[in-house]
């Protein structure tokens, strides 16, 4: 089809740009949707950073409190007398 008039040329140019934009939008949408579906259907990776398993805090506190019970409180000692060097 020959483009006889500037108006027809503009119309076809608009159509071309719209079609290209539609392809770009379709591609980006397909990418986003596929990535989201990939995450839900087959996660593969760890979803969050794994942390070492630890004893419950209440257990640790109970044992620490109990350990403190076994340790006698140190008797405060007076600081040593300052002494000057003798020559």
């Amino acid at each position: 089809m020959a483009l006889r008039s500037p108006a027809a040329r503009r119309r076809h140019s608009t159509w071309t740009r719209t079609a290209c934009a539609a392809i770009a939008v379709a591609g980006v949408t397909a990418f986003g949707v596929a990535a989201a579906l990939a995450r839900t259907t087959h996660p593969s990776h760890v979803k969050h950073r794994p942390a070492a398993l630890a004893a419950p805090p209440a257990f640790i506190k109970a044992v620490k409190d109990s350990q403190l019970d076994t340790q006698p409180v140190a008797v405060a000692q007076a600081p040593s007398q300052p002494s000057s060097a003798t020559s």
């Binding site: 079609a19 392809i23 949707v33 087959h42 593969s44 794994p50 004893a55 257990f59 044992v63 350990q67």
Partner: protein, 328 residues
Amino acid sequence: MHLTSSPIAWYAARGAGVAAYLLLSTVIVVGLLMAGRSSVPAQPRASVVAVHRFGGLAIAAFIVLHVATLGIDAWLPFSLTDLFVPFTNRVRPIWTGLGIVAAELLLALGITNALVRRRRIPYRVWRTLHYANWAVWLSATAHAVGVGTDRSSAWLTALMAVCVIAVTGVAAWRVTRRRPAWRVVAPATAVVAAALVTGAALGPLRPAQKPWNSATFSDRLTGNIDRQTGASRGLISLHGDGTGGQRVFVRVDLLATPDGISNTSLQLEYLPSGDRCTGEVTGISNDGRGFTGWCALAGATPARRTITGHWQASDAPGLVGTIASAPA
């Protein structure tokens, strides 16, 4: 080259592969319609050619994203050779190699497109070479069906079936359009091709899925037992790994008093999900080398699991035994 272990790169690689395949199928259908003189009504051929060409560039962009994200991701550690030299990969080399062949052939065809526009090669030669797009599409389809991580998921199987129906149907129509008696060939070809691809994806090429927070497993247990003691409380802790069908980290804590065990805790961390199952120990074996307990995993079905562990007496440091799980 492996810059990240973030799952984002891995999901992006898979998403980009799907987007590239969808666009490739669309652009091939447009190309077949153009060559079959069934172009878009009321649009000049030059406009449709421009759209076809833009589609090719969009495919190239998503292929670059697919390869780049695979390159930086540590989940499947691809070397540069693995990424660019076909059939050298350790992971399903044939199917992965077909994807590399498709990408490199597409690049070569892109170069011929540029050459024919500059009149460096005759149109007849370009047209003959352009038939290699069939090899690109067939290789890409085989790559998706043979090694695509999501190839057996319903959404990707359906998407591939639609693409195969569209491309083979239009191709068969183009070949048979001047023979009215062969009118049934195009839909029949499309249906048979889609059935073949779907059957392969769901049948012999179906990937073996790794267990995900499995409620039933029996693993080899390795670990250690630690003791912390105070005046009236003591903590006995088992921490170790379960390796086998469902990999787990295990931790069992017993809070002991002079009167016996006052409180217990049992924790499992499932890999690769990182999800945690927490509960209590309900019994300890008479010889002290085993336990029974339960844990509950939020959001899982079944949520509550019965966990048993036992190990042998050994002079070596650490313990070796078995940990098993069953639905409670």
